[in-house]
Amino acid sequence: MKTLESVLIKHPFFENLDKPYLELVTGCAKNVKFEAGQFICQHDDEANQFYIIRHGKVALEICPPGKAPVTVQTVSEGEILGWAWLVPPYRWHLDAHAIELTRAIALDGQCLRKKCEEDKNLGYELLKRLLPAIGRSMEATRLQLLDIYGARD
């Protein structure tokens, strides 16, 4: 059975992270499991964790009032779920629920936040990795905005 550290070390997010930091992060990590349909977080919950999805699929949803919830993005194997844990006011922006049985590594955001304040280098290393992922997500969202397959006039 793989140890948490061996899984994390292989993940692109932690590539080239100094060993002491990696150990620190591993210390804040644990395996979690979500059943199909289970909510991982809801809009405005405190964002104290972020997840690396190992298996399964998570839907990010927005629920407009009086309407059925709309899935705006899915997060799957190998992808990161959550960035609000590092950015005030540390609250989840969307609802996330597992579409199917999902296993993930949960990282204690609250703990890591504190460590980042103490060691700014750690903070920079984490932000350096988080920002490109958010950037790609933003670009993808912009394409969705264009509604490129939309009905022709």
């Binding site: 699929k57 839907a59 990010l60 059925a68 919830p69 709309v70 899935t71 705006v72 993005q73 899915t74 799957s76 194997e77 190998g78 579409i99 199917e100 993808a140 394409l143 969705q144 264009l146 509604d147 490129i148 397959y149 939309g150 009905a151 022709r152």
Partner: protein
């Protein structure tokens, strides 16, 4: 180009007589017409990527990519989205009714060039229709190709074309098929997000790979970009262009895109050759 027929009868401007053999509803606004020539001796050969000009009496003509079938079989499939006068008229045709057909025109997907390589096919919306003959072509010589992946995105789950075939494609022909939609509801258990996000999820060797992309121009540009980030060079990426078309034989001048006539130099283009033009606004 190998395997390509450019049908040039006495006059390429005269439509030939075809009949609707079958009509398949694909989604709320998209349907497939299965057409058979009146003249049973007429060959229905075409190369994947080619298109025909379909004519309905008194309304007009429209270029439609050929979307199947697998081998030369005496009939030709066209998947059409009913958005204008002619396409709506095509939608109103009854089984057995006649259409005028000119073609096949245009060039083909690089099926030959892809031999011995991995293949990535990226389709957006109705873009899967012109790519389906390419997929069938790859299947007919499956062992000549490496890893094959189909990445397909559409607006909503109801708009996904040919989805009933995907399981066969995965199982029988061993290709990776990944599908996504722009937005989904609770009944959709698949991916949500743009089709470019599927690229990191399939396995292929970027140094030995050919990509074929078809969809709205924006989708093709960003898909090509994503593929180059994944390690493909632009000369291994092929897209298909669309412009106004009137004659389809290089005389009317409407389909020009820079120096290329889309009706005869295209519609399939190698990405590096048209990138400077595709990036120029209003070109």
């Amino acid at each position: 180009m190998e395997g390509m027929e450019n049908f040039s009868p006495t006059d390429p401007m005269i439509p030939r007589s075809y009949r609707v053999k079958r009509k398949i509803r694909e989604s709320h606004d998209t349907f497939t017409l299965d057409l058979q020539p009146d003249n049973l001796e007429e060959k229905t050969n075409f190369a994947p990527g080619q298109f025909n000009m379909l004519y309905t009496f008194g309304v007009g003509e429209v270029p439609i990519s050929i979307s199947g079938p697998m081998k030369e079989s005496g009939h030709i499939l066209h998947t059409i989205r009913g958005v204008g006068n002619v396409t709506q008229a095509l939608n109103n045709l009854k089984i057995g009714q006649k259409v005028g057909l000119r073609g096949p025109f245009g060039n083909a997907w690089p099926i030959e060039e892809a031999k011995g390589k991995d293949v990535i096919i990226m389709a957006g919306g109705i873009g899967l229709a012109p790519l389906r003959p390419a997929v069938y072509s790859l299947f007919s010589q499956r062992q000549q190709y490496g890893d094959i992946a189909l990445l397909y995105g559409s607006r909503k789950q109801e708009d996904l074309l040919f989805h009933k075939e995907f399981e066969t494609w995965r199982g029988k022909y061993g290709i990776q098929v990944k599908v996504t939609v722009d937005t989904g509801d609770r009944s959709w258990k698949g991916n949500v997000g743009v089709v470019t996000t599927l690229v990191p999820r399939v396995s292929f060797d970027p140094s030995n790979c050919i990509a074929m992309i078809c969809g709205p121009e924006v989708m093709m540009r960003f898909s090509a970009l994503e593929l180059t980030h994944a390690g493909l060079t632009e000369d291994k990426i092929f897209i298909t262009m669309e412009r106004n078309m009137k004659c389809a034989v290089g005389f009317c001048g409407h389909c020009q895109f820079g120096p290329a006539f889309i009706c005869k130099d295209g519609p399939v283009f190698r990405y590096d050759q048209i990138k400077p033009f595709i990036s120029t606004r209003e070109f």
